[in-house]
Symmetry: C2
Subunit: 297 residues, 2 copies
């Protein structure tokens, strides 16, 4: 493994490692205003939600690495502690990127990026009409993490009103992960389009899964089953009983057991391959039955 | 648009909206120990990096919504203010999910999830051997955001050492976004595999792009070009000059201009469609030339 000690490499290099390892990052397209009311719009991927009660999001307009200056967004929230966090979808990702340009103070990124400002209900900064979800926020606190180039500033925001575009909603009014076309930031110039990589992992049982440590040794040491396969097996609350396993063996696997009657290693290999396929198809109980036939009876 | 005011819906519902809108979220697989040295391992997607100088990551083990209890991770960092944040890749996502189960205090999620504890160099909690990037961290501060169910707790962590698996590195020792197989959390039971949705957006010029507001009106109002197309056009520092545009028209588009000599609307449509394709192929200068031929000469 490569090891890195911060302080022994440049901030710029360290920044690169942090951003390519901690990913994909959601993007806050932050709309603020300065003391004269001029709007600013800039994207930040030092961003996430951290609490539902109260509803708190945090983003960080960090000090610039190259000249240790602060960003307009940071300056704005210090004088007008309000922000609209607009969520970025694939249809606006290039406009968002263009708005990240360091235009001089007073230049509106809404105009430069061709986005439409819409008045908010409870805060002064504008919402971005094109954004699928817009969070009107009050800034509770700004925590400066340092005073050198690359130092972050935690802008701790309380969500006071949420606007959600109809086209991303399910029939019962929830946000549909299959409809909202979100993008996240990865390392370098990379983004990821969530939609293309979506997959589901059922939440573990409220009742406790047996754990990988409770899986019989011969299965746990399988050369076929991956850590992900074992985790699915370890997520069940209890194993199928001996009667069910015997029945499965007699009805479903009789031919297999005859074929490999004198080749136990090959039989075990076949059973594990079969189980791997069943787990991939979410048939966990069936996989357990197949695996348990090997030492059963 | 649907609007939501926090406080007018349940914390549980609000939580659902926040998690499905603020996505994809990176995952901190946090390894901590209690006062007696028993290890704990749990995943948190209320997580991100926020600063490179000092290197600061923040995650939030929130109070449980259902019974307002606190999590072992929170309790552990209050007594032993150290944590290893392990990054989660696709190969271990089910093991990570299994470790999110609420096993009783004293039960090791390393064992339950079949993961391998490795001693850290500068902190007491273990690293997860299977994780492609492991951040050894000191906890600078824990900020409680509330005391009700669903309240977040910002665990502000300073990275003191980073371990990176060789298989995710480029030849020159950087993390390769194409090799590291990261997963992020989305709404509901959804995750996203970054790799499947990766795309590049070249960073905007240090020199300022002209902006969408400087694009000639007839192009900006195009029915063919999307906001993303216009943003790419607005990202250039200057437009091709009249001579280049005329030359392009004579050499590349002579036939097109003859074909549509008396059909200006159709000609414009064709030029915009052509430009859209060029932009999608990253040929921005060529797209500009094609578009500017329409009112040129």
């Amino acid at each position: 493994m490569k090891t890195i000690v911060p302080g022994e490499i440049s901030v710029r290099e360290l920044h690169g490692y942090l951003l390519s390892a901690v990913a994909p990052r959601p993007i806050a397209f932050a709309s603020t205003i300065d003391e004269s009311g001029s709007p600013n719009l800039a994207p930040f991927s030092y961003f996430n939600v951290f609490s539902a009660n109260p509803p708190i999001a945090v983003f960080s307009p960090a000090r610039r690495g190259r000249d240790n200056t602060s960003k307009h967004t940071y300056e704005n929230v210090k004088v007008v502690p309000e922000v609209v966090i607009n969520i970025v979808d694939y249809a606006m990702v290039h406009q968002c990127s263009l708005a990240s340009t360091d235009y001089p103070k007073g230049v509106s990124e809404f105009e430069k990026a061709g986005l439409t400002p819409v008045a908010s209900d409870l805060v002064k900064p504008f919402r971005v009409k094109e954004s699928p979800v817009q969070f009107e926020c009050k800034v509770n606190e700004v925590v400066e993490l340092g005073d050198g180039g690359g130092a972050g500033n935690l802008v701790i925001c309380e969500v006071v009103k949420i606007h959600i575009a109809d086209h991303v909603l399910t029939k019962d009014g929830k946000i549909d992960p299959l409809k909202i076309d979100l993008v996240g930031r990865c390392g370098g110039d990379f983004y990821t389009r969530s939609h293309d990589g979506l997959f589901e992992v059922p939440k573990p049982l409220q009742k406790l899964g047996i754990g990988i440590d409770s899986i019989p040794e011969d299965i746990r040491r399988s050369k076929v089953l991956s850590g992900n396969h074992l985790a699915r097996l370890g997520g069940v609350e209890e194993l199928p009983n001996e009667t069910d396993v015997n029945e499965y063996k007699l009805i479903e696997l009789a031919d297999l057991f005859v074929t490999y009657e004198d080749q136990p290693a090959e039989l075990e290999q076949k059973l594990h391959e079969m189980a791997a396929g069943m787990i991939d198809a979410d048939k966990i109980t069936e996989a357990w039955k197949a695996l348990l036939t090997f030492n059963n009876g």
